[in-house]
Symmetry: C2
C-alpha cells in the first residue's frame, strides 16, 4: 500500500503530528461504540462532564474569572494559584466530547465559559486570575510556585482541543494571545527578551508543541524547545521537585514530582517527533525504561511519596503509601502514547493498557461522580483516614481539583489513543468494539474485552489490489494467544511476531475476518525481589486487569491476616450483579492465627518454620479499578503466600 504520509487522515484528537514529523507512526481515527470503555465514556459524557460547570461555580473558579473581568464582586476563591486550570481542563474535556457528539446544551456551556475566560484576559494577552486578583498583577516573579506558564499550558491545550474538535477559534485566539505574550517575555539573554526562566510545573512545553501543530507557527515549537532545555540549570534553585536538578538530555532516571516529570517528558517526545532531535528521543527511551523497570507500581501507578508527590528511589514501591496520583497515570498515558508514535514500538502501548485499566480508571468512581486523587494499593485494617485530597475514600471534588477534569479529558479523547497508521498499514494498540481507520483502510472490531479474550476483526474498507499490514499488539502479559486469519491459525509458537506486534501482511478484501483470542486465565504475579514492599506476596491478575481484595467481600475480619494459598487453582466467576458487572477471580486462602506476643511485635526467630494454621477462607478478588465503590474498608492488591 505505497502512499505518502500526508495521505493519512488527521484525526481530531490530541497529538496531531505535523507534516514533517519524524515519528514512526501517526495517530489513526477510531471510534468506540460499545463495550467496556463505551460504558465508562458514556458516564463521563452524561454525568461527569455535565456536572463540571456546577462544581467549578461552587468551588469559585468561574467566580474568579468574572472577578478578573470586573464582572463580579468579592475576593479570589480557592487555595492555589493554578485553579484556572480546572476550568481549562474541563473545557478541553468538553471540547473533545463535542467533537464526537454535538450536544447542544454542552456546546452552550462551553460557549459561556469560553466567554468568561476571554473576558478575564488582560489586554496584552496575560491571564491568571490568582496573580491578577491576589498579587496585584505582579507577573512571573514566582516561577517556582506561581504556575503561570502551567496555567497557560492548560489554556492552550483546551484551545487546541476546541479548535481541532469543533473548528471554533474563540478560545484559540485567547490562547495565542497568551502564548504570544509569553513568547515576547521568555528567552535566552541574547534574545533581548527580559526573562530567562521556566515554570516550576511543566505543561506549557507540550502545549506549545500542540499549538504549533494547530497553527503551523514555528516559533511556538521553538519556545517549547527553549523551555524544555532550560530545565536542569538551576533557574529555579536546582530542585528535582521542579525538574530543575539535571537537564533532561543528561538525566539517567525519572525523579522529583511525578506529574511534572511526565509532562516534561511528553514535551520532549513531542519535540523529538517534530524536530527529529535524537538526543531527546534517546533521553525519553532511557527514562521510560528506568521508570518501568524500577519505579512503576503493578497498576501502572507512578509516584511513591506523598511528601512532594515524588518518584521515590528505585524499587521503592510502597502499597499503603503509594501516591499514584490519578494525574500521573494520565500523564504517563500521554507520554507513552507519544513514544509509541515516535518509535513504533508496542511496549509503550502495553503500559498504556495497564495504566488505563488499573491505575488510571481506579481514579474515577463507577457512577462518575466521585474521585480518587491518590490510588494506593492497600488500605490497612484499622486505617484512619485523614480526609482531604489525599484520602483513600472517594471525594466529590478536591481542594486541589486537578484530577477530575484531567480524567474527564482523557476519557473524552480516549479513542485517539487506540490505533495508528504508517506507510505499511494499520496498527491496533488497544482492543475495543468500534472502528479503526487509517488512510483507505477501515477495520471493524467486536469484543467483550477485558472480560473475554476474543476480538473479532472485519476488514470493511481496503484497497483492492495492494497488500498492507494489519498489526495487532500482543499484550506483554499474554502468555497464550491464537489468531485465525482466513484459513491460517497462528499461536505463540508460529505467529509472525516482531517486538510485540503480530504483523499480518495480505492483500485484503472487504469482509475478511481476523479473530484474536487472548488467553485470560487468571494468574499469580510476583515482583522483582528488590521491590521490598511485596516480598513474599503475589498479586492476582487476569488479562490486563490487576485484581484486589476488598474487606466487604470477606466478612468476619480484616484483610491483613489473610494468606493466599498459591498451590490451589484460581477460578473465574462472572458476576453481572456486582459493581456494574465484573469478572471476579476466586482463590483459596486462610486467616492466619497470630500468636500473642505481648506488647512487642518483634521476636527472635526460633529456627523452626511451622506452617501456621488458620481458618480457610474463600478469597474474592475484584478488578482494582472497581474498588472503593461500596462501603469503606480495607483493601489489598498484594497478598502474602505464607
Amino acid at each position: 500500500m505505497p502512499r505518502t504520509r500526508s495521505a493519512l487522515p488527521s484525526p481530531t484528537g490530541p497529538v496531531r503530528l505535523g507534516p514533517d514529523t519524524h515519528a514512526a507512526l501517526r495517530p489513526a481515527a477510531a471510534g468506540i461504540d460499545a463495550g467496556f470503555w463505551h460504558a465508562r465514556r458514556a458516564t463521563n459524557a452524561r454525568v461527569s462532564i455535565p456536572q463540571g460547570p456546577g462544581l467549578l461555580e461552587s468551588a469559585g473558579n468561574l467566580h474568579n474569572l468574572r472577578l478578573a473581568a470586573g464582572a463580579a464582586e468579592g475576593g479570589f476563591r480557592g487555595a492555589y494559584p493554578f485553579v484556572d486550570t480546572d476550568v481549562y481542563k474541563w473545557l478541553e474535556a468538553a471540547a473533545w466530547q463535542l467533537g464526537q457528539d454535538a450536544d447542544e446544551s454542552l456546546a452552550t456551556e462551553v460557549d459561556r465559559i469560553v466567554s468568561l475566560v476571554a473576558a478575564a484576559q488582560q489586554a496584552d494577552g496575560y491571564l491568571n486570575t490568582w496573580f491578577q486578583l491576589v498579587k496585584g498583577g505582579e507577573r512571573y516573579r514566582d516561577l517556582r510556585w506561581g504556575h503561570e506558564l502551567y496555567c497557560a499550558g492548560h489554556l492552550i491545550q483546551a484551545a487546541v482541543a476546541h479548535h481541532r474538535a469543533t473548528g471554533r477559534a474563540e478560545l484559540l485566539d485567547v490562547a495565542r494571545g497568551f502564548a504570544d505574550h509569553i513568547d515576547s517575555v521568555f528567552g535566552l539573554p541574547a534574545s533581548g527578551r527580559p526573562i530567562d526562566g521556566i515554570d516550576g510545573h511543566p505543561e506549557v512545553e507540550t502545549a506549545l508543541v500542540e499549538l504549533y501543530r494547530e497553527t503551523g507557527e514555528r516559533r511556538y515549537l521553538d519556545l517549547a524547545g527553549y523551555f524544555v532545555d532550560r530545565h536542569g540549570h538551576g533557574l529555579l534553585g536546582g530542585e528535582a521537585y521542579c525538574q530543575d536538578r539535571v537537564p533532561l538530555r543528561e538525566a539517567t532516571d525519572v525523579e522529583g514530582h511525578a506529574v511534572r516529570q511526565l509532562y516534561l517528558l511528553a514535551a520532549a517526545a513531542d519535540l523529538a517527533a517534530e524536530t527529529g532531535d535524537a538526543e531527546l528521543r534517546a533521553a525519553g527511551e532511557r527514562l521510560w525504561h528506568s521508570m518501568t523497570t524500577a519505579k512503576t507500581h503493578l497498576t501502572g501507578g507512578l509516584g511513591a511519596h506523598h511528601d512532594q508527590e515524588d518518584f521515590g528511589d528505585p524499587y521503592e514501591l510502597p502499597n499503603e503509601r503509594a501516591y499514584c496520583e490519578t494525574c500521573a497515570a494520565i500523564a504517563s498515558v500521554q507520554w507513552s502514547w507519544r513514544l509509541a508514535l515516535l518509535t513504533g514500538e508496542a511496549r509503550y502501548s502495553d503500559l498504556i493498557e495497564r495504566t488505563l485499566y488499573n491505575g488510571f480508571l481506579a481514579g474515577v468512581s463507577l457512577d462518575g461522580e466521585r474521585w480518587l486523587y491518590v490510588n494506593p494499593l492497600q488500605v490497612r485494617d484499622g486505617h484512619t483516614d485523614s480526609g482531604g485530597d489525599q484520602s483513600a475514600r472517594r471525594t466529590r471534588w478536591f481542594r486541589c481539583a486537578c484530577c477530575p477534569p484531567n480524567a474527564m479529558r482523557l476519557l473524552a479523547s480516549l479513542e485517539h489513543y487506540l490505533a495508528s497508521g504508517d506507510d505499511r498499514g494499520l496498527q491496533i494498540h488497544q482492543y475495543v468494539t468500534g472502528r479503526y481507520a487509517a488512510g483507505p483502510v477501515t477495520v471493524r472490531a467486536e469484543t467483550d474485552y477485558p472480560w473475554h479474550g476474543t476480538v473479532a476483526l472485519t476488514v470493511e474498507e481496503t484497497p483492492a489490489d495492494r497488500p498492507w499490514t494489519l498489526s495487532l499488539r500482543i499484550p506483554q502479559w499474554a502468555r497464550e494467544f491464537r489468531v485465525r486469519c482466513g484459513t491460517r491459525t497462528y499461536d505463540r509458537t508460529d505467529a509472525p511476531l516482531s517486538d510485540g506486534w503480530l504483523r499480518l501482511e495480505r492483500t485484503w478484501a472487504p469482509g475478511d475476518q481476523i479473530v484474536l483470542e487472548l488467553g485470560l486465565e487468571p494468574r499469580l504475579t510476583a515482583a522483582d525481589p528488590r521491590v521490598d514492599a511485596v516480598r513474599g506476596c503475589v498479586a492476582i491478575e487476569r488479562g490486563p486487569l490487576v485484581h484486589c481484595l476488598e474487606q466487604v467481600d470477606h466478612p468476619g475480619g480484616g484483610l491483613d491476616d489473610i494468606v493466599l494459598d498459591p498451590t490451589r487453582p484460581l477460578a473465574v466467576k462472572h458476576r453481572p450483579d456486582l459493581l456494574g458487572g465484573i469478572t471476579t477471580v476466586v482463590a483459596a486462602g486462610r486467616r492466619r492465627s497470630i500468636p500473642d506476643r505481648g506488647w512487642w511485635p518483634y521476636a527472635e526467630v526460633d529456627g523452626t518454620h511451622p506452617e501456621p494454621d488458620g481458618e480457610p477462607v474463600e478469597l474474592t478478588a475484584v478488578p482494582y479499578h472497581a474498588w472503593a465503590n461500596r462501603e469503606d474498608g480495607s483493601m489489598r492488591v498484594w497478598l502474602p503466600t505464607s
Copy 2:
C-alpha cells in the same frame, strides 16, 4: 527498710515528683562516670552544647531576641514561629549540664542568653519573638499553628531545669511571668478568662506540671489539666494532627503528629502522677500498649509518615520512609519514664533502653557535630537524597532545628532516667558505670555494657540492720541471664522475677557484690506478619542494640540484592578500630543474581521455587546508632532471607 517517701532524695533532674505523688516510684539520683554513655555525654558536653550559642547566633535565634528587646536592627530571621524554642532547649541542656559540672564559660554563656530572653519579654509576661516582630504583637489568634504555648512550654522547661540544677531564679522568673500571663488568658468560659483554647503543639501541659513541682503553685497543675482535657473537642478544627480529634481519655490508639501525641501523653502521665487521675493513667497505659504493639519500629522509632510527621496505621512500619523523628524518640523516652514511675512496671524502661541505644542515638553523630532529623531503617541503593531537614545524610543544623538541642537536653539529663526508689528499696532501670542512690542506699556499678553483658554491682552504703530490695530490670530482649549474689546464683529458671524485675531482698552490708550477666549472643529477629514492610526479612540484634548493614562495609555492590542465610551462625567481632570502637556481628549471605526481566519488574509465578544462586558475601552488621558516620551509601536494618 520502712521509711517515708519524703525521706527519699529529690534528684535535680526532670520529673521531680510532688510531695503528694501517686506514682509508684520516685526518680533516684544516679551518676555516670565511665563507659558507653559517659563517652557520648562527654561529647555532648565538650562539643555539642558549646557549639550551641554560635549556631543559634548564625541561624538568627539570638538576633530575634535582641530585636524583640529593641537592642538590634533588622528583620526577624528564621522560617517558623517556634524558633525561640531552639534557644530554650539549648538553655535546658546547658542547665542540666551545669548541674553536674560547674563549667565557668558555659555558665557565662547561659547567663548571657538568659539575659537576652529576659530582655525580650514583654511587660505583661508574654514572650514570642515571631508574634512580637512579624505579627505586630497579635496574640493567640493562630493557636493551631502559632506555637505560642508550645514556646512557653519549652521556656518553662528550661527555667525549671535552670532553677533545679543551679538554684538560679532569673529564668524561672521569666517563665512564671509568661505562665501567669497564660493563666490569666486561658480557661473555660465560666472562668471569665477570655480564651477557651489549646495549642496545636502540646508541650506547655507537661511543662506546667513541672512548674507546679518546682514552685508548689497548684494553679499551674490545674492549668495543665485544663489544656490536656480541652484537646479533642474541635477547638482547633478537630484534626488528629493537632491532637484534637478525640479526647485523650477516650482515645484507643496513638495518632496524628507523633511528637505532639507523645508530649501530650507525657503531660497526662504527669497529671496522673500528681493527682491520682485513674482515667488518665488508664488512657496512657492503653495507648502505650497500642503504640508498642503496632506502631513502633524495631529501633524504638516512632512516626511512619513524612507527610504530617504522623503515626501511620497499625502495622504500617515502612523502612526507607520511616520518619522516626529524633524528637519523637526523645518524647517517647520522656513519656515512658513517667509511666515507669507511675506504674512501677519494667516494660516502660525496656522501651526506653531500646530507644536510647537505637532510635534516639542514631540522631546524634559520633563527633557530636551533625544530626539526623529523621531516622530511616533503610537507605536504598541508588537513593537520591532530597537534602533539607529530612535528609538521610547528617546535617550540621536544620531549618527546623528542633532535634539537636532536644538531643542535647536528653543527653545532659540522662542520669535522671536510670534508677528509682520506693519504700522497698532501689530499682535499677538502665545499666551504666556509676552510682545509683535512693535514700540511705548507694550502689556502685561497673560495666562495659552494651558491648559486654556483665554488670558488677557493689553495695556502698546501706542501713545496717534493715532489709531492702534491690530490683534489677531484666531486659525484655534477654533470653538468658545469670545473677550471682553472695553464694547464690540465679538464672531464668529460678530467679525471683516479677514483671520484668529481678527482686533481691536482703539485709545488705557495704561491700556486698551482685554480678548480673546478660547473654549477648547475637540473634535474628522477625516481625509480626502484619508488618508487611519486613515480610521475609530478619534483623540482627545483640543485647539492646539493633544492627544494620552499611554499604561501605560491603564493597563491590549495593545492599538491596543481599540475602542473609539464617541457617549459618552469627559471629561477634570486636572492632576497636571502627567507629570509635564497636562490636560488629558477622553473618553469612550472598548477593542474589537477579534475572533480567526486560522493562517490567513483575512476572507470573511459575510454580517452581529454585533457590537462586549468587556470590557468597560476608555481612558486617554495625550498631544502627553508629550508622551514617562514614561515607554516604545505602543501609539496611531488615535483610531478606531468601
